[in-house]
Amino acid sequence: MNALLFSALSGVIMMFSGLILKNNSTVRMLAHILLLAVIIVNMLELKGISLFNIDTKELLIFDRFSLLFTLVAAICTLAFFLVSSKDMVRIGSNYPDYFALLFFVLSGVIISASFKSLLMLFLGIEILSIPLYILTGSDKRNLKSNEASLKYFLMGSFSTGLMLMGIALVYGATGTFKTGVPFPFELNKVPVLLIAGMMLLLFSMSFKVSAAPFHFWTPDVYDGAPTVFTSFMATIVKAAGFIAFMRLFNDVFGAIQPQWKLLVAIIAAATLFIGNLTAVFQQSVKRMLAYSSISQAGFMVLAVYALNDDAREGLILYTAAYSIATIGIFGLLTKMKDYTFEGFNGFAKQQPVLAATMVTFLLSLAGIPLTAGFLSKFYMLRATINGGSIWLAVFAVLMAAVSVYYYFRLIQAMYFKDGTGNISIQLSPSFKYTMVVLAAVTIVLGIFPNLLINWLYF
């Protein structure tokens, strides 16, 4: 609750800060301070200290799950600010506005993680999406950015339409927008209206989290958007989509699992298959990361499939592990001139420390033990096997093995291939420290996952 208000307020402050603050570094400083405030009030609320309470009329619920996810999202946003905020200057002249839009996205993230009514779900997803359409097109002189923005907007509004239709049908079947209310009919006689609504919601959520076969917009949009914002879209926003996805299917459709379980399993398998196999053939690291985000989404769909305690804990861990690693890799990618794999040749010789942090992130994404990425995949597998499908788990790990191929290509380029030209990039010491801290967090979470997960319970 507090974090939501702070974040929305920060957005407004940032929007008007451009009128007063003329210096970019002051703007940046202000944004960091405001974000820190969001994190602190959220932590306090998680510890039971709420600054103010507003009656949301049961439209929103701030339980430990949503508060913890808000914390993860806000901290990842901070990591994103620290790694990438300086690079936003290069995109255009509206520097304070970018921060304002990011804060609005964060508000949308919080709403869609805490909805208690389908209307709020719709509102959250919209608040989160509209600033993203703008951010995607923020590089106004670049045709690819414009194209990506238009594509994203058209596809996005189409899926929002589906979602609204789905909500209407569900309302028609149950007579309420509230989630977590028992159905007013017997479970062996599910009305067609509800099934149709459920399907529409499933498709639109799959679109938002770029699960196959609704993923086609992802590579183009991620590739066309300015790299700094791709980083944000591919991590925190996608994670929020999954939290909403899981909450929706847990609270509303949890009682009719037999109706959708197989469908979700197929979506998970298809996402894993398409994401991984297509990523193998990419020549650009940025596009590879776009497909890798699809393949990682496949693993996260497993949480929706399983819907047990493991899945809940695992999804929180997964979003944290995946976001940190991806933000780190994108952070470096933004500074590179050449986005191809060859552009990284010989990188380890010039930047040994950064190369080591990159290895940590890549190992984490590939799911190698002692990294957070391994444990999050482990939780997903555990949830899936516990949910009754060992063959889905076997398929998922085989696809994870495929993912090693493209993640390790980057490691090979950095360490074992000789660079042709000089990779002369300007890196500030603070950037390096942030990357080292992120890598350390990845390893610490890989050994002591309870540091994060225990927040769900105490």
């Binding site: 190698i368 033990p369 002692l370 597998l381 096997i385 516990n386 060992i390 093995a401 360490y415």
Partner: protein
């Protein structure tokens, strides 16, 4: 407690090595670390032999049902002994080999040792899986960073193979975890499981494939000759001397006692696979001109016989496997040392370009001949005892009569084949006329002679008096057979 140090000392030593920039200093440091590990292991077998020292358990990821538990029993003692003897030997033998960034190279070597020690002592399945990967990652970097020309593609193949197989194993482990009544990963609860026969039957393969790739068993062996050939020799020694034993170890510790039914039911299939590999690899070894590839194929053949003996499900075969795991490690490291000396001196590994070395390097020739005879399993060398016990085991296999005759005869033929390629190799390197390349050869240096001498002493002593090694594994074999028999009775 001491068992924890076996893992911690190389881990910390390895991490510190990254920061020692001086070439001599880092070599000395890593040798010191490996000697400390050897000392600790000897201590654990002699004056610190109490249960408190041989066991360690600490809470770790309690919510996942996993704990950090390590234990030294007979099986792990044999393999940790092999590891801790091999490391100083390898480090001294490659003392003169030039490396780019020796600190990184040696650090990764020590990290591999930490992983190996963990694998051989873990009694928690999840922990075992962690160490399994921990041993793999540094080797990947060693081989890709310091190997020969085709290293990147070849090592990548090796990595993908092993990683794919190991994640499948992870799913198997997770499934077993959900079968345990108390939801735990500990070895005891896995052993106590009573799994229905048809579940065992497919679950067995999820785990077996991971180990089969590592050993490697035909038809999962294709990564192995390339990787051995392209890796830096020090890494090859670790791979072939110790790491392949991880597969066999996994089979004995994590497959047989958990799935005794499936282990028996699939015995004929797996033994046939192993036998095909043994004959096939031996025939290819005879054709090889490249020393490294020759030894690589010979290693497939020897591992195949060990796999057959394991699947014979007999106590005597198991004794033989334990002995042979140790002996094969020692012998093959000896062979690699000679390869390393030859390659460093002449810049080639082609048998056709060598010859007449015996006149120029008599000490080297003598030492190699003894090591090679150990590899062929001639009586009075260590190889003989192990192979004899294993053949005995294969003969007493609990299977149809015609099958065991085929298996035993096939395994015996492989011994003849192994004599053919090994003696052929000796002939081509050491005898015949010298050529322009070997004309100016010099003998092995003193430290190299000493290290080969140590290996030769181990080979001869164990060939005449194998009792200490047998005693080490004895109690373990008893416990294992007991476990398996009890489990079999319940299934029947």
């Amino acid at each position: 407690m001491i068992v924890l140090l076996l893992f911690l000392v190389p881990l910390i030593g390895g991490l510190l090595s990254f920061f020692i920039k001086n070439d001599k200093a880092v070599r000395g440091w890593s040798l010191l670390v490996s000697l400390i590990v050897l000392f600790l292991l000897i201590a654990s077998n002699t004056f610190l032999k109490s249960t408190a020292h041989l066991n360690f358990s600490a809470p770790w990821m309690g919510s996942l049902g996993s704990s950090f538990s390590l234990k030294l029993d007979g099986l792990s003692q044999v393999l940790t002994l092999l590891t801790s003897i091999s490391y100083p030997v390898i480090l001294v033998a490659t003392w003169k080999t030039e490396y780019r960034k020796p600190n990184n190279f040696l650090a990764l070597m020590l990290l591999t040792q930490a992983g190996l020690m963990g694998v051989f002592t873990a009694t928690d399945a999840l922990l075992f899986y962690f160490f399994w990967e921990l041993a793999l990652i540094p080797v990947y970097f060693l081989c890709s960073g310091w190997g020969h020309e085709r290293r990147i593609a070849v090592t990548f193949k090796f990595f993908i193979y092993t990683f794919t197989a190991s994640v499948v194993m992870l799913v198997g482990i997770l499934y077993l975890y959900f079968l345990t009544p108390d939801h735990s990963f500990s070895m005891q609860s896995f052993y106590a499981l009573k799994i229905p026969a048809n579940t065992q039957s497919w679950l067995f393969w999820l785990l077996f494939i991971a180990f089969a790739v590592k050993m490697p068993v035909f038809p999962f062996h294709t990564w192995q000759p390339d990787t051995y050939e392209q890796s830096p020799t020090a890494a090859t020694m670790v791979l072939s001397g110790i790491m392949v034993k991880m597969g066999l170890f996994g089979l004995i510790r994590w497959v047989w006692p958990i799935f005794p039914g499936a282990f028996h039911a699939w015995g004929d299939v797996t033994m046939s696979m192993a036998l095909i590999g043994v004959i096939y690899a031996s025939l290819i070894a005879i054709q090889q001109d490249d020393l490294k590839r020759l030894i690589a194929y010979s290693s497939i053949a020897h591992m195949g016989i060990m796999v057959m003996a394991t699947f014979s499900e007999s106590a005597i075969g198991m004794q033989g496997v334990l002995m042979q795991m140790f002996n094969h490690g020692i012998n093959i490291i000896g062979l690699w040392i000679v390869v390393e000396l030859i390659e460093r001196q002449f810049g080639t590994r082609k048998l056709s370009q060598l010859g007449g070395l015996a006149q120029k390097a008599p000490a080297l020739a003598t030492l190699l001949v003894i090591v090679a005879l150990g590899n062929v399993a001639l009586p009075l060398t260590n190889g003989f005892i192990g192979e004899f016990l294993m053949f005995n085991g294969i003969w007493s296999t609990n299977t149809a009569n015609t099958h065991r005759i085929i298996f035993t005869v096939g395994a015996l033929i492989s011994i003849i084949l192994s004599a053919v390629y090994t003696l052929n190799m000796i002939k081509k390197i050491f005898f015949g006329n010298t050529n322009s390349l070997t004309e100016t050869a010099h003998d092995a240096y003193l430290h190299e002679r000493i290290i080969l001498g140590v290996l030769v002493i181990i080979i001869l002593v164990l060939g005449v008096y194998p009792q200490p090694l047998l005693d080490l594994g004895n109690s373990f074999v008893d416990v294992l057979m007991n476990n398996v028999n009890v489990a079999n009775l319940i299934v029947k």
